[in-house]
Amino acid sequence: MTEFKNENIDELLSKFFSPDQAEQIKDDFASADSFFEKFPAPNPPPQILAEIKQRTAQQLENRNRISWTTVLAKTAAVAAIVVIVSAVMLLNFSQKDSIQYTNDKQQTSLWQSDTDISAFEAEITQLKNELLAINLGEETGTNGILTDRVEQVELEIIETENTFWKG
């Protein structure tokens, strides 16, 4: 067992064993060598070697093919991810735009509506003040004219309120 190893067996054994033990071990190694020489193992059958060569060549081809397929698949996957991400971003952007536009529209109509309401409210307040002044007798004069004016104011109030609730 010492013939083809790139090592100094004497030196190695002397590190771990006494000289007597080392001699014994070398003797055992030599007898093992003789057993292996005397009873040689068979060689592998040639057809098995041919089969192995064929199978390894096939596996090599498959491996190369797989690696190309893998590269293609990975590229396609990356491209698909880029497309999907871009589409999602584009979609998000246009949705935001649309929401902003709608918000603007709603705000404008609310503002217009607010303007109308405030006009009506101002008119109602004015009429109420006038009515209050009349009731308190701030406007003295002939009863007939006063009554007419009160009625007129009341009619205006009713009309204004009706117009207001109709929008």
């Binding site: 190893k5 190695l12 007898s31 005397k38 068979p42 098995i48 192995i52 199978r55 390894t56 491996r63």
Partner: protein, 184 residues
């Protein structure tokens, strides 16, 4: 054993690099250079030609798959470590199989012969090696067929050099006794 001529370390490195480049020719040369030694390794440990054929094929397919992970400078150690792992898997599978057989039909086990008749006549050494425990037999056979130094063997086995040497020595001593006392 007619050992295949060991290639020089530089030749091995070149060959491994060729294989790593995915060259068919490289693998073909690898089969030519290492098949006898690896077959001897498996045959000594299994005592069975069919199993050795199968393990040898499986090993070369694994080599194709994993050659990229190997450092060309330590190819022999890498190769025999892989062979050793395959053999250990084989032992485990065999034990499971035997256990199953034992549970199913106990009487069948007595009819199973460990080796075919032809092997019995020609291979006394293999039979005696199989009387050693699997680990001891494996380290002896690996030492003989791999061409690895004790230091490399110890590294592969992840054990101290002295422990590795002692195991080989105890195994060889026992093997010698078995061979000398055998009536074959």
């Amino acid at each position: 054993m007619k050992k295949q001529k060991m290639s020089s370390p530089n030749d091995v490195i070149q060959l491994v690099k060729l294989c790593q480049q995915g060259e068919k020719e490289g693998f073909s040369q690898l089969v030519d250079s290492y098949s006898s030694r690896l077959y001897g390794y498996f045959y000594r440990l299994t005592g069975n030609r069919d199993d050795s054929n199968e393990l040898l094929s499986e090993l070369f397919l694994k080599i194709v798959e994993k050659i990229g992970t190997c450092r060309p400078e330590t190819f022999n150690a890498w190769l025999f470590k892989m062979a050793s792992n395959l053999f250990m898997d084989y032992i485990r599978a065999k034990k499971r199989h035997e256990k199953m057989l034992d549970q199913m039909v106990k009487e069948v086990q007595t009819e199973i012969q460990p080796l075919p008749a032809g092997d019995y006549m020609t291979d006394k050494l293999t039979r005696q090696l199989q009387r050693l425990d699997a680990e001891t037999a494996e380290i002896i056979v690996m030492r003989y067929y791999s061409g690895l130094s004790f230091e490399e063997l110890a590294k592969i086995r992840k054990e101290p050099l002295g422990t590795c040497l002692s195991k080989v020595h105890r195994g060889l001593k026992r093997l010698r006794q078995l061979m000398e006392n055998s009536d074959d």
